[in-house]
């Protein structure tokens, strides 16, 4: 009962082999085993989205995923968004430029959810406020700073479009 399970994951490009209890949640594995504390625990009930990271490129609420479900997966956390030389990701630039945070607690989850949103998007043209709000419906900001969060994501999308053009 409750024996440990072998787990291999690649987190932010680095492979890790671990033995974890089957009941360990992904968010606790990232924070407590790997020390990647940028992924936050907010509500702990899959509502708030503070724990969002990317599993095989798609956003997931890591408080509702068992670490063992991610065996063999590629995981990206907020620590993996900046380039190796420290150059900020377009979304990080956007949140900085548009003041997309107040207390900052929800910010990593917002950025990871926004990364999924922009990656999933197939439409051309600027992303609308409504699209961003729908795309981030799984993330709560208790400072209620949504207005600038939306602008930050739009700025990041625009910057990425300019780079691509």
């Amino acid at each position: 009962m409750g024996a440990t399970v072998a787990l291999q994951v690649t987190v932010n490009g680095e492979s890790h082999d671990s033995e974890v209890p089957a009941r360990m949640l992904l968010v606790h594995y990232l924070r407590d085993e790997l020390g990647l504390t940028g992924t936050h625990v907010g509500c702990d009930t899959s509502n708030c989205g503070a724990c969002t990271c990317l599993v095989d490129g798609e956003s997931a609420k890591s408080c509702t995923v068992l670490a063992v479900q991610c065996d063999g997966a590629q995981i990206t956390t907020i620590e993996g968004m900046a380039g190796p030389d420290g150059e900020l990701h377009a979304l990080q630039e956007g949140f900085w430029a548009e003041h997309g945070l107040q207390c900052g607690y929800c910010t990593p989850g917002m950025i990871m959810a926004a990364a999924d949103l922009l990656e999933r998007r197939t439409a051309d043209g600027p992303i609308s406020e409504q699209e961003v709000r729908k795309g981030l419906e799984g993330n709560l900001c208790r400072c209620t700073g949504y207005h600038n969060i939306v602008k930050a994501v739009q700025a990041a999308a625009e910057a990425s479009r300019e780079v691509a053009a």
Binding site: M1, G2, A3, V5, P21, A22, R23, M24, L25, H28, D44, T45, S46, N47, G49, T52, V55, E58, S59, A60, K61, T64, V65, L66, V68, Q69, D71, A113, D116, L117, R120, K134, G135, E137, G138, N139
Partner: protein
């Protein structure tokens, strides 16, 4: 919150999962996306002795389109359904399930087997007259949607069986509408209504209406369907049919809504869903 301890096994095939379930006894549970089960385990409402993880069972993935029906592998995630514009109502509903993070992990088979009265997909299966295929130690059987849902969080999938496939008729030529009412963007439906309408020259040839969270199981609004079939699809007839949408329902009140309010919502949302479905 951390769940109680459990043993964990990864199934390599459906038959392997069936064998593992049989060995694990009555408290063994299957794990698909885990987005219904893991929250219950964290609250310790569920404490399985063994979890049989289906993540490597590739035979449960993928959507096959054959003629006039879809065969959807049980591990198909909501995110895959939301991208399938050719699947009409199912794609429209999938887009409204919870949020993107949940849609990226949650599966159609898991949602149907969980049988949550407030979940979006069960009433769609019922409205479409779809079915599920289950396999167990005694072989395979097909369960029609009308026979699948028994009560709150209870289905007729037997312990030891694996829900492998969801079958939905393509319903070509039907317009569709989905209306979901909740207090927060990502929440479960306070009430949800799926409508499918087949029109011929503005006259209703066929209509199916599925109600979400209006009882212990998903329901069909049969009185409203009967009232509209054969009638002109104008505002007056749609409103008259929608007024019957809550007939024969007895929803439980909860934190969000009294039974009377849910019945009111069912009538209003049915009118809206029928209007959308008729305009398509």
């Amino acid at each position: 919150m951390i769940g109680a301890e459990f043993d964990y096994a990864v199934a390599e095939s459906v038959d392997d999962a069936i064998a593992l379930l049989a060995e694990g006894g009555e408290d063994a549970k299957l794990l698909a996306g885990g987005h219904s089960l893991v929250p219950l385990m964290k609250l310790r409402f569920a404490a399985p002795s063994l979890l049989v993880d289906l993540r490597r069972v590739d035979e449960l993935r993928g959507i096959q389109t054959g003629g006039d029906s879809f065969r959807i592998g049980a591990l198909t995630r909501h995110a895959e359904l939301q991208a399938r514009a050719d699947m009409g109502l199912v794609a429209a509903v999938a887009t409204q399930i919870a949020d993107q993070q949940v849609r990226n992990r949650g599966t159609i088979g898991g949602s149907l087997a969980h049988g949550d009265a407030a979940a979006d997909l069960p009433a769609v299966l019922l409205a479409c007259d779809g079915s599920v295929v289950v396999r167990g130690p005694d072989g395979e059987r097909e369960i029609a949607a009308a026979d699948l849902f028994e009560g709150y969080l209870t289905t007729t999938v037997a312990h030891g069986e694996v829900l492998t496939e969801v079958r939905l008729p393509a319903l070509t030529g039907y317009g569709y509408g989905y209306e979901k009412f909740n207090r927060r963007a990502e929440d479960w439906a306070m009430v949800g209504v799926s409508a499918l309408v087949k029109s011929d020259g503005g006259v209703c040839q066929d209509v199916r209406i599925g109600l979400t969270h209006m009882g212990a199981t998903p329901l069909r609004a049969s009185a409203a369907e009967d009232a509209l079939r054969g009638q002109p699809l104008d505002a007056e007839h749609i409103a008259a049919a929608a007024a019957l949408a809550a007939d024969a329902t007895s929803p439980l009140g909860d934190l969000n809504a009294t039974p009377e309010y849910k019945q009111h919502l069912a009538r209003v949302l049915t009118r809206r869903a029928l209007t959308t479905a008729s305009a398509a």
